[in-house]
Symmetry: C2
Subunit: 411 residues, 2 copies
Amino acid sequence: VRDLAGEAAARDAADPLAGWRERFHLPEPELVYLDGNSLGPLPEQTREAVRRAVDEEWGRGLVRSWDSWLHLGVEIGDVLGPLIGAEPGEVALSDQTSVDLFKLADAALGAAGGADIVTEADNFPSDRYVLAGVAARHGGRLRLVPPAPSAEDVAAVLDGGVGLVSLSLVSYRSGAFLDAAGIGEVARRHGAFTLWDLSHAAGAVPCRLRDAGADLAIGCTYKYLNGGPGAPAFLWVRRDLQDRLLQPISGWFGHRDMFGFHDTYEPAPDIRRFLTGTPPILSMVAAGEGIRLVAEAGIGAIRAKSVALTSWFIELAHEYLDGLGFTVATPEEPDRRGSHVALRHEAAWPVTQALRSLGVIVDYRTPELVRFGFSPLVNRYADVAVAIERTARVVEERRHEAFPADRGEVT
Amino acid sequence: VRDLAGEAAARDAADPLAGWRERFHLPEPELVYLDGNSLGPLPEQTREAVRRAVDEEWGRGLVRSWDSWLHLGVEIGDVLGPLIGAEPGEVALSDQTSVDLFKLADAALGAAGGADIVTEADNFPSDRYVLAGVAARHGGRLRLVPPAPSAEDVAAVLDGGVGLVSLSLVSYRSGAFLDAAGIGEVARRHGAFTLWDLSHAAGAVPCRLRDAGADLAIGCTYKYLNGGPGAPAFLWVRRDLQDRLLQPISGWFGHRDMFGFHDTYEPAPDIRRFLTGTPPILSMVAAGEGIRLVAEAGIGAIRAKSVALTSWFIELAHEYLDGLGFTVATPEEPDRRGSHVALRHEAAWPVTQALRSLGVIVDYRTPELVRFGFSPLVNRYADVAVAIERTARVVEERRHEAFPADRGEVT
């Protein structure tokens, strides 16, 4: 019998990022939190930053604090930029992910030849819903490609009727990490823009947007960027596209001279034209701290540990779980996956609940995936070992049978 | 010479709402804060609520706290409802004001016969920008009515080509409080929806939306509702309209079964269909506290004190400021105005800066308005007296001449 705890301890002792875990507020040391790709944990520095924003900036500064809040979305965007391969002035935090997707997809179709949008059949539902709506408004429709599409899969559905290819760089289900450069090239060849959802990528994998020849991107900041529940989303528009594209929600934060109170809307000449209204400052401040923390650690070191964590998890899953009805639903080549691993099991829903009851917080995705998310600044190799052992125990001891067989309709 | 300080002290001693000021965190007792209609001050209870949301809910509960966060926007909406004359299930907090305006205006034009939108020439610029954009997308345009329009002014531009009348119930500039019932009636007669921006009304005046026969409303929560900088906006859709209208940003929070991860978007049958994406929880929690505080005080008592404060301010403005180049730009009949008073002065910008330097925080609005906002739970009659005396002193002593004559282009 392997000594998994011992192996994990040796790996943790050699981990150059081990010290970063202390930068987070994790009040239950025994909890194995593998859902940082749903909600990243609270950075210690965020507690003080939010307190200062409430007590000092709002409480004491009152309306005068808008001098420092006004450009926060663009300032934090520039901290985030290097993590996703953007240049200064190309990123801003604004609104929520679905709203930013709507704005940029609509802007792209407004400038493109075609009105159809290519997306993945398994793309995050909110993305598919929003993209279908945008396409319909322009007289187009969705064209679906299969999960984890290659550049060839995308090329197969491309023609002049397509104005936009919008995919998640890392799949929220399988964790598949797509070939952005290859897909970008075939899209460009057909005159379609590319718009990447980086929600499961930013802060976990190097996105290299500019190197990949991408056009647009959006993403959330509350997963691997640890920005807090519902923290504002980010949007990226390559600089040379900024004055060619117009987003539909022409609010004052996108105006060239927002306090000039003009008769008509004149879009700002830069990334600000993609902003809309007054942003939620408390949540914005929290997002800034989470992003700064990740930027300080560096995406190279984060990615290296992510690959090591997920590789070990997959190795152990084969050894311990293959015989218990689990299959690995995530690409096994390291450079084809992000930072989570999905295991398929016919009892995925009750297994997820049983794992949570044993202190292993994982997530369920319909119809039969258990998702293990590894946040490299937080998770230890010990978490991998414990997760594998408890997952095996749940099924061996039929502990999942104490939970309802399906989730029902949760609204 | 009148003893303004003595008169104010007598009024404050008789004020039934005097005790509410202590419920706010006002660290400079000498500061006269008359900009609560730009950013309401920090309620004491909000400090603890945000701390709890950060440390306990996010920090300790992690992703599990979504059980309590998920419906926060609708739950807080029901606390706000009675303040604006709405029924339960008709209000939700979501997104920012400009985004909610976009969603509801677009939904209205999608269901209306006409594509033009009637709004006020002096409506808040972001509203005009957004409404112009929405109208254009539907093949229509804005039809402008003069400031502080009557029902007759609106009727004069109405015909079958108009799908929506969208106005601010209280003007951000003059403070004029419009006749919602009269305007609603003429709009209905022409088959147009009404969409009210309550940003300068909610929490300060009784809005009585249902009594007025209104259809739709939006507004911000960071003014008289004291929800904090950029706190999420609210939207109201009268119940019988909810399943007739579709908003354009079809995100998962608006889906009938948001965690079912379906192939296509099926809008929820209720107010949730007007939601979009994951809301900013920290800012949402702060909004909830501010709204609860106002609801507890009661809109009747708030309105009574608001009328008393603004009436006394106008009386004193005539006595002390008429001879110094100021004119009252706000309707003098109490039931025709909201809770702020705008004074016109040719040096409004430097006067605003000089007043701020003397500890009277007021706001400037282009081209020549100084705006004095009275938040009845916070402001004292003493604030009225001090504001009048210092405004007179600024001009008498030419203190404003030490400041730049105009604001320049601030972006």
